[in-house]
Symmetry: C2
Subunit: 388 residues, 2 copies
């Protein structure tokens, strides 16, 4: 049995490392706020729920009694009205760096036992992202900077989380947006991070420039309108020194694209997800002081993003089809496909593997996730059941 | 002190009346599921939360140890897809009665100590509705039918709950839609109820007709389209014998009008409120098999109903105004105004009384309810705070 090889976490030593009493560590473990990984990463733990002073998804690595933290990615707050948000949050500095916010899923990458591993936002080791990241980032950076963690957005059409065609990527790629120190989570300043990433030939998110705080709002508005037209997500506005907290701001088209995806599975769609996107549209429309025509276009875009996918789903279920999320993953090692399937199953996301096709030296696997709740609800309505 | 006059509820006798053990009655009282009214209605109790076999808002009246129940109004379920819902729910009967569902608030009326009193849905005695109902319904019905309860929709522009101009009512009026027996809550058949209401010259909700089950769906669709154009709410479809449960179905325009009202106070608007209305639009659009043009009009109506009021609110707050719900009530007895204000205060709805103006032999009072949450949130965004 694998479990026999697992040594127990030394509560005393962890307490010392985290500067917390050992009793607190025991409590975190008991309450499920500090959890051990399964399978081969049995000496990696993650913080989840409300652990004190620790971002959700922070990872604790046990190197035989020596510890290391990979801090969770801090939640970036959102500007609803761009101009006042810029002035209030960056009023004390002269300029802000504006980088693209890409639409994918974010991972943290470190080297562990001689190979790279990728943590998801929640601190799990994703087997698919881990296999992929070996191709995207060279190992030299990590050997030469063992104290640093690379934060990047994984994006492209072939992944189980967020499939996007907007970036012209064939399968999947990573774009670095942050480099931070282990343990403290302290971020490198924007320029230093970009230079370092360039030196090691990492893909990076696009830097639109450093803008004077007084002109930033109009510059960013232009950028956002252009990004919207291209189906991209938005921007993150940063203090170049990375001392103040970054702020995000997104395109209307991206909000609506989220809704379109969500309302395909209307019965799974979160109420909060709908509400928050609708609210963003209201504030942006106000700030842009839109013409009657632009406003009508926004209303149309919003309404259509909700109703069109829903209508399509009902039609499909009526005609006997079942709706499902379908995506592909692409791997070098066929084993990763099954490992990844098992990984999703552990979260209760039961997926069906479709065809596995050889492409060059890689395999492309089709994966299907059935959204039972929306299918069942739609069928019930078609059979004449009443909404409560 | 008023309280000294209050006799205790006889737990044994109540238990006998409700066919529940006395210990159960004590438990209901302890848990707050059976509550005594305040002020002059100290011998009236209401069931709230989950009392066994009792609709929410059911009222228990203690006539010195003899008891009477005014059953809460059963929640009417909604058809999402009209045709299958009709066939499934009324497939065993040959025809359905279709009555108008009016947009207001529903009350139950009985005679109590020589005058009429009106209970709200939750089982409270509303002082405003109680004063008003004396003018709308004659007392003969209640004297001649002491065993019956009148269920009606109070509607018109002058009330604190739902203000509607659509019915051409100057102030407020009541429209009877149900008559039920005390204690059992058993409803009179549609025809019998309508004849009885006519005999006593009560206003009634409109009966569109009795439709054969096979043609009902197309007939109702026509009715709904017409009602929508007039800004009215929808229909309730009933088993003429009132044995099967009624089903409601509403107009797209009414959903959108709800959203327009709700998004004026976007930070108070319930996520579920938004979601449920959006979902209705999706199903109706599917069932109606709309043309591209009609679909675009629906999308536009939905988007505009959400964004327009929100945008207006932000603009108003920016220009220094504060948004508030304003309405009027009209009374014969000036005292009712203050009594009603105190009543709202008891629910934590703090309102400001505006001008009180004499009109004929009545008084019209302006009432203002400030929506602190939306005002505060909007101000915060205008000052550059970030959304979490």
């Amino acid at each position: 049995m694998k479990n026999c090889r697992i040594t127990e976490l030394d509560i005393e030593k962890v307490g010392e490392f985290l500067e917390l009493p050992p009793s607190k560590i025991s409590e975190l473990i008991e309450k499920g706020n500090l959890k051990r990984n399964w399978d081969e990463y049995y000496d990696i733990y993650r913080f989840q729920g409300h652990a004190p002073h620790m971002e959700d998804g922070t990872v604790l690595i046990d190197h035989h009694g020596n510890f290391e933290l990979v801090r969770g990615f801090p939640k970036i707050k959102r500007a609803m009205l761009l101009e006042p948000a810029l002035l209030k949050n960056f009023g004390d500095i002269s300029s802000v760096a504006v980088e693209e916010k890409m639409n994918g899923y974010n991972v943290r990458v470190i080297e562990f036992r001689g190979k790279l591993i990728a943590f998801t936002r929640s601190g799990h080791v994703c087997p698919y992202s881990t296999e992929r990241v070996q191709n995207f980032l060279g190992p030299d950076f990590f050997r030469e900077n063992p104290d640093l963690v690379v934060y990047g957005e994984m994006t492209g059409p072939e992944n189980p989380y967020v499939q996007k065609e907007a970036y012209g990527i064939e399968s999947l790629d990573i774009f670095v947006f942050d480099i931070r120190h282990k343990n403290t989570g302290e971020a490198l300043p924007v320029n230093q991070r970009r230079e370092l990433a360039e030196k090691y030939e990492f893909n990076q998110v696009r830097l639109f420039g450093n803008f004077n705080i007084n002109s930033a709002s109009s510059k960013i508005t232009e950028i956002i309108k252009e990004l919207g037209k291209k189906g991209r997500e938005g921007v993150v506005i940063k203090d170049p020194a990375m001392v103040l907290q970054p702020v995000k701001y997104t395109c209307s088209e991206s909000n609506c694209s989220d809704l379109r995806q969500a309302f395909k599975f209307y019965n799974e769609a979160g109420r909060d997800y709908l509400y928050s996107r609708v609210i963003r549209e209201g504030f942006q429309s106000h700030e842009w002081n839109e013409s009657e025509e632009d406003f009508r276009e926004r209303c149309m875009r919003l309404g259509e993003s909700i109703l069109n996918p829903m209508k399509k789903t009902i039609g499909q279920v009526e005609s006997g089809e079942r709706i499902a999320e379908e995506f592909c993953i692409r791997v070098k090692n066929k084993e990763t496909i099954f490992k990844f399937r098992d990984y999703l199953n552990r979260f209760g996301l039961y997926v069906a593997l479709g065809e596995i096709e050889r492409r060059g030296d890689e395999y492309v696997a089709e994966i299907k996730k059935v959204n039972k709740s929306t299918n069942d609800k739609t069928l019930a309505m078609l059979e004449g059941q009443l909404w409560s």
